[in-house]
Amino acid sequence: MTEQNTSADTLIRLSAAQLSEKLRAGEVTAVEVTQAYLDRIAAVDGQVNAFLHVNAGEALAVAAEVDAIRAAGGAEAEALHQLAGVPIAVKDLIVTIGQPTTAGSKILEGWHSPYDATVVERLRAAKMPILGKTNLDEFAMGSSTEHSAYGPTRNPWDLDRIPGGSGGGSAAAVAAFEAPLALGTDTGGSIRQPGAVTGTVGVKPTYGSVSRYGAIAMASSLDQIGPVTRTVLDSALLHQVIGGHDPRDSTSLPEPLEDLVAAAKTGNVEGLRIGIIKELHGEGYQAGVENRFNDALELLKEAGAEIVEVSCPNFQYALGAYYLIMPSEASSNLAKFDGVRYGLRVLPEDGPMTIERVMGATRAAGFGDEVKRRIILGTYALSAGYYDAYYGSAQKVRTLVQRDFEAAFAQADVLISPTAPTTAFPLGEKLDDPLAMYLNDVATIPANLAGVPGLSLPGGLADEDGLPVGIQLLAPAREDARLYRVGAVLESLLEAKWGGPLLAQAPDLAAAAAETLETQEAK
């Protein structure tokens, strides 16, 4: 290995906060950093399939601009954002000028948005090079990224296993050192569950904390954009870039963000009450997941936190309510994909050529099975005669879930649970059993129904399969700062125990790629 390769390999493993320091100290250029990540993508993404589109030209141009400003010095260099020149990947559900946006669907293949999402505008304003667009379950509908129309993403810890979903591409890209940062979207766990199964950090902010303008909507009352990173501090840094009020999203919270980076640097949890949710562990959770969860509780207790137990009895109805509300909203949101204004148009093979039949043929050919299932289910839940029993009841359950959270947060400052009931399962295992797939989100869904923020961080490896386990922290709405405070403390305690970041224990993908290449060449 040449010296240059070694330094590139070191660079891609740094956190965004560390990269930012090196960039500002002039120890490395933004072009070097961006090129190192583009090289890494070229080397390993054939195995991982995290990216649907790589944006090399624009990313390098933005990096070169940052380097030029920094080299020139003066006021403009002073004004550069802390993360200027730190590259990022964007989930392909978020629209971008200059790159295709597919939402993982054939119905948008080749489509280019004429506008940027607000979060993308903010990345551009901070001069963060956008490496490309990451893979996802079609329209973010799934928990494994297997419902992408462009093939599944693979888990960097074990390429035969799922990287979680829907944001498997963003989580895998960050876990495989193909990007230091990524954006995800979380409707029922699509940032946190992929974070859990790939050993990365993922945050679903308070509903309204980050603008949804330009995120292709699945369920508007549940969707939230958030950070996907390798450290808690990096999530806080990214949250501050993308968060804050946006007049173009009428559900955007008007108040300014708290100082989340300061919260991540607090460094203590003494006297904080941390609540174990009785209903979100134990039966139905893999033994190795439960063990790592108990380890985390032990560490927090040793650090001076008070561990209490809380009960949220209505969480048992949350999954059911979610699978009525989400498809209902999705069936309405996806009505716009009709072969008229953008995307695919398919003409019926025979019979009269009316617009209705063109829509029917277009949506039949353009949507995958899971999207069709959810549209039909949502249409059912909203139809006359069933509306009160299904959609109406689900909205009442939402009230009950909110009340459970209120009662729990009267007893605890932060709640804690495993992020997902199991570690990453093998590709294909749950593809023919939608209900089994849905159960992956049982611990993440309540936060979306109530609008409260949640963070998942690596909790270690499960004893039985050596795969990452996620620990979920939940806080009251608008109290995202608490997640970063507790998350950063738990992360530092765990890393002290492991002797470094969990991802240092992940398999070496570049070596595996080189080996495959050698074998092929030998043949």
């Binding site: 509903y207 309510a321 009316t354 949506r363 299932r373 009841s393």
Partner: protein
């Protein structure tokens, strides 16, 4: 609560503008029956006295200044259209009997 059958799915697919083959209707009816069965407990969870929540964090009176903001040009708006003609989206016949 009523179970969902193949005829229901065919009707819903028409409402949702998704053409489905006979095979697809059979499979979808089976899968949806399982899902609908699993969510039916939701209808018994809450009493009449529980209000519905449609939005997790309600905001009232969200206004913006009454000024013209960004608007797309016709060319931008039509840039992704499958078919267009003279600055308009072009579609096949809207009525059955043209």
């Amino acid at each position: 609560m009523a179970a969902i059958n193949r005829d229901d799915v065919a009707h819903l697919a028409r409402l949702a503008h998704i053409e489905m083959s006979a095979e697809e209707l059979d499979r979808m009816a089976g899968e949806l029956a399982v899902i609908v069965d699993s969510v039916k407990s939701v209808s018994e969870a809450a009493g009449d006295d529980v209000p519905a929540t449609s939005h997790p964090i309600p905001l009232t009176n969200v206004f913006r200044d009454d000024v013209v903001g960004h608007t797309f040009t016709a060319k931008q708006a039509l840039s992704g259209a499958p078919d267009s003609d003279e600055n308009r989206f072009k579609v096949p016949a809207i009525l059955d009997e043209a």
